[in-house]
């Protein structure tokens, strides 16, 4: 028996490594910093994330595999890496003052976010089911803790526990799926799975993988945890989960189904289409009924997962690039929306009820305008990023013969307009509610909001570069 050293190509996993090292540094830094210096750890995290972004850009057009084809650097992965990093940067910018106000300003908070990002980056680079699973766990475990990070808050604890239990459950499904796929094909490598003959066992394995992914991105009927977890978790973490987990999990989802199981994916397409319809419809209809803005955004995130699933059903190059563009657009828009919620908080109190937004247009005209833009973008209005994303997705669906799915999609986005407009209506057309002072927006939060706003408008008005970057980068 001969042992060969695997091809260690650290460059390919450089973004992952940089974030992991930053996480360790921040974790150690926690030990030597006083409570007044915790802010510095946040800045250190930002530096780490930006450095990882730089390293990821260096991988553009690298098209390489390493570690015995365990990881793969392709433009698909780099695009998602940058999307996730953008989401993480915005989240940390939003966190500085939020954690202080909520008395959870610790190094662990930042370290856990970075660990989770490590898992996410690994997930979109993974070319092997085992790595995907590893990444899935690495991204999930820190999030379970972060969801319960407000230790004195029962809702937060409930969120953490719920997320953990259901997450563990879905991991089991996923692992079982991997086992069956391995049993059927003798490999866990995505490219080699594609080359092996289809069988019943592979089909069932693929179905179990689908369940695992469906849990993570909150597809109906595996979405039950979402509203409670999103509502209970600290708002910054909710914002982060709602976008970054989706980007990472959809990345692996797309890769697994399009690279490893293209033939089987055809069989699963009708099921996925039905799931997409259910997800969009339930998400939007349930969001209509919510008075709590975090719950509303939770259901809206379910609906958006449904839209992205349309792109997956449509498959083909158009579908993949549409999904990537949509994930980027959704990341910026949703973080912007949550950012506005965070910005309007007062100490530990947050404006959670839609009616709390009354009269804000007069007290905070800029912030109200920003939140309006984010809501319109979520609803898919031009000239904002959300519109172009929806356009690309529905276009991909029609192109590949799924016109009826696109019809369901547009009707759904029609329904969604109603609830996205509700905070807007409150801000512009209702009187201010008692008990709230004039909101003051912290500079770093304002920076995050402005960055998100620029992104949302730029992607809406000049989408061409981003579409070009999102196109055709999935290595097989």
């Amino acid at each position: 028996m001969s042992l060969s050293v695997p091809d260690l190509n650290l460059r390919i996993i450089a973004p992952v490594l940089i974030v992991a090292i930053s996480a360790l540094v921040v974790l150690l830094g926690e030990l030597v910093t006083s409570s007044a210096q915790k802010r510095g750890l946040g800045y250190a995290s930002l530096v780490g994330l930006l450095a990882a972004g730089g390293a990821a850009m260096g991988l553009w057009d690298a098209h390489a595999v390493a570690f015995r084809e365990m990881v793969r650097a392709d433009n698909f992965g780099v695009f998602l890496t940058l999307t996730i990093l953008a989401g993480a940067v915005l989240c940390i910018l939003l966190s500085f003052d939020f954690t202080r106000a909520h008395r959870i300003e610790t190094g662990e908070y930042y370290a856990l976010i970075l660990f989770s990002v490590t898992g996410m980056l690994l997930m979109v680079t993974a070319a092997d089911l085992i790595i995907i699973f590893l990444a899935l766990e690495l991204l999930s475990l820190p999030l379970y803790i972060l969801a319960a990070f407000k230790r004195e808050d029962e809702r937060s604890l409930e969120a953490g526990l719920k997320y953990f239990l259901l997450g563990a459950f879905s991991s089991a499904f996923f692992l079982y799926g991997i086992a069956l796929v391995y049993g059927a094909t003798g490999t866990t490598n995505l490219a080699r799975i594609a080359a092996s003959a289809p069988s019943e066992m592979l089909l069932i394995g693929a179905g179990l993988l689908l369940v695992g992914f469906a849990f993570k991105v909150a597809l109906v009927p595996f979405h039950w945890w979402t509203p409670d977890v999103y509502e209970g978790a600290p708002t910054t973490i909710t914002a982060f989960m709602s976008v970054a987990v989706k980007a990472a999990a959809f990345g692996a989802f797309l890769r697994a189904f399009l690279v490893a199981l293209p033939a089987l994916a055809m069989d699963w397409r009708v099921v996925l289409a039905i799931i997409a319809v259910l997800t969009m419809t339930l998400g939007n209809v349930a969001a209509l009924l919510q008075a709590n803005i975090k719950r509303m955004l939770a259901y809206s995130s379910i609906a958006h997962a449904g839209y992205i699933l349309i792109a997956l059903v449509a498959m083909g190059g158009a579908g993949v690039s549409a999904a990537l563009f949509y994930l980027l657009a959704y990341t910026l828009t949703n973080l912007g929306a949550f950012g506005a919620v965070i910005a309007l908080g007062e100490g530990e109190r947050e404006r959670l009820n839609v009616s709390d937004y009354g009269g804000l247009a007069r007290m905070q005209p800029l912030l109200a305008a920003m939140l309006t833009v984010f809501m319109l973008s979520l609803a898919g209005f031009p000239p904002f990023a959300g519109f172009v994303g929806k356009f690309l997705i529905f276009g991909a669906a029609v192109q590949n013969g799924w016109a009826w799915l696109a019809v369901v999609g547009v009707l759904n986005s029609l329904v969604s307009v109603y609830f996205y407009l509700r905070p807007v209506v409150a801000m512009y057309m209702s009187e201010p509610v008692e008990g709230w002072g004039a909101p003051r927006v912290a500079p770093l939060v304002a920076l995050a909001l402005v960055l998100a706003l620029i992104g949302v408008i730029a992607l809406g008005v000049f989408p061409a570069p981003a579409i070009a970057l999102a196109a055709g980068g999935l290595g097989r």
Partner: protein, 519 residues
């Protein structure tokens, strides 16, 4: 030659809107904002006037002042703008009504002036954008862009007793239902025109020559009806008109003027710009149902208007009646039959002129209603009477606009309605005969309900004196109100007496469009 003329026209209001936001807060900021917005809005009007009256060639059937740049390369979306005889008058009317609306509002809007004038200028960008877009994607972007400010204008500055928020969201959702279906049709047409090697197109000019789904009548019909619905809701054609009375009644005066004057035209403009040239066969095959819907709009709209007791609602329903003539004219122009090109062109000219005239006349009428409401704080037709003698200037102006609306010869409305019927009798004689009823009812509603109730009769001194305690004060038109209405009255008379000023422009394009589809 003005470089980037149309882009300037689209961008100027947007820049103005941005400046409105930047004017610093202070005691005088409101009057500064108003003053600035009005003056700024004159610039697009001057530019549009210069383009139309000086540079525009009325005898050229091709697009003028064209600009085209690649915008989203991967899906072949272009920033392609241009105007022809169909869109130039409407662009000009948009800039005119915006100036008048802003000018009038600067006197009557006291709350949240900054937001009002911002929204209004943003709305102007959206409307001009739709008229000049020659790329369907761009068209759609502007189409939606106009929706949001109008929603805010109705919801925030609407009359509290008319459920402005309900009316605004109704307007918003109705329009949106149509536009999302249009979006799907746009996508389908793009994909249908693409081949393995070349991308599809969103270009309206190219689509008119390529005729997507030419060999697939079912899909062509689906796309046609998707787009049809979007436009029909906007027009609004019976039975999609129910949003209109609510939105109009609730909207502030200037909002109603723009809604009636321009936004409704977006729908009929779409009929002529998109549906006729791109789907001539489907349109021809469905002329009868469309003409019947137009007939119902005309007759039913007039009857319902006649039944109203609310002045503003009456004018709103009269729009359903008047916009019906436009659709009738378009349907008559493309109907299958032996009629020659001249007859058809007359019908289409009538339809296009009716679009312009309705903007002028109904725009004026909404100002007139608003002016009365400012004084009486009610729009109930029964509570007026005898105003003709008490407020003679108001009476004269209302009389003129009403006569123009009912189609009295010598005023604008007559010319366009006459032409629509002249064309329609050639191709759809039976339908045209029924539609004449609409003229009768229309005259009845203006004479009986409006003129008789408001201007004639006995002036109830006692009641008005009593009302004065509640802040009601009756006085004749002030100078700014006369200034607001003067240009519109002038246009009514000018087009009524000498329609050639605009008809030449329209005729060139009618002949060009119909020449493409009629053998």
């Amino acid at each position: 030659m003005v470089p980037f003329a149309l882009s300037l026209l689209v961008l100027l209001p947007l820049v103005g809107a941005a400046i409105v936001l930047l004017i610093p807060k202070g005691q005088k900021s409101d009057s500064l904002i108003k003053w600035f917005a009005v003056v700024w809005s004159v610039i697009p009007l001057l530019l549009a006037s210069y383009l139309w009256f000086v540079l525009f060639d009325p005898n050229a059937s091709k697009m003028q002042f064209e600009e085209a740049y690649l915008w989203i390369s991967s899906i072949n979306v272009r920033y392609h703008v241009g105007v022809d005889g169909l869109s130039m008058p409407l662009v000009w009317l948009t800039t005119l009504l915006t100036v008048l609306g802003l000018f009038y509002s600067s006197y009557v809007i006291h709350e949240r002036a900054r937001e009002f004038f911002f929204m209004f200028l943003l709305l102007e960008t959206g409307m001009i954008g739709v008229f000049v877009s020659l790329d369907f994607f761009l068209f759609y972007v502007f189409w939606e862009l106009g929706l949001v400010p109008m929603y805010f204008l109705i919801a925030i500055w609407g009359h509290a007793e008319d459920r402005p928020q309900y009316s605004a969201i109704k307007f918003f959702l109705y329009t949106l239902v149509g536009s999302v279906l249009m979006l799907l049709a746009i996508i389908a047409m793009y994909i249908n025109t693409s081949t393995a090697t070349t991308p599809g197109t969103f270009d309206l000019i190219e689509l008119a020559t390529k005729r997507p789904f030419a060999n697939d009548f079912v899909f062509a019909s689906l796309a046609f009806w998707g787009i049809f619905l979007a436009f029909a809701i906007k027009v609004p054609l019976f039975p999609f008109h129910t949003w209109l009375p609510d939105a109009h009644t609730a909207a502030p005066t200037a909002g109603s003027v723009i809604l009636a004057g321009i936004l409704l035209k977006l729908g009929t403009y779409g009929f002529v710009r998109v549906l006729v040239p791109i789907f001539p066969q489907v349109f021809q095959a469905n002329v009868l149902p469309i003409a019947i819907l137009a007939t119902i709009s005309i007759v039913y709209g007039a009857l319902v208007a006649m039944a109203q007791t609310d002045f503003k609602r009456l004018i709103a329903y009269s729009s359903v009646n008047h916009m019906g003539y436009v659709i009738l004219g378009v349907a008559a122009a493309v109907a299958i039959g032996g009629a020659n090109l001249t007859d058809r062109a007359i019908a289409l000219n009538g339809a296009m002129l009716q679009m312009f005239n309705h903007g002028v006349i109904t725009g004026a009428l909404f100002f007139i209603v608003g002016i009365l409401y400012e004084r009486a704080h009610t729009r109930d037709l029964k509570s007026f009477g005898g105003l003709g003698a008490k407020t003679p200037v108001y009476g004269a102006i209302l009389l003129t606009a009403s006569f123009a609306s009912l189609g009295l010869p010598g005023l604008a409305g007559f010319i366009s309605e006459f032409m629509v019927f002249r064309g329609a009798f050639a191709t759809l004689p039976l339908i045209a005969t029924i539609c004449v009823l609409g003229i009768v009812f229309g005259a009845a509603m203006m004479l009986w309900k409006v003129i008789q109730n408001v201007l004639l009769g006995v002036f109830d001194e006692k009641r008005w004196a009593e009302q004065e305690k509640h802040g009601v004060k009756l006085y004749d038109m002030t100078r700014f109100e006369v200034i607001t209405l003067a240009p519109l009255l002038f246009l009514m008379v000018l087009i009524g007496v000498y329609p050639s000023v605009i008809l030449n422009t329209l005729n060139t394009i009618s002949v060009a469009i119909l020449g493409q589809i009629v053998k």
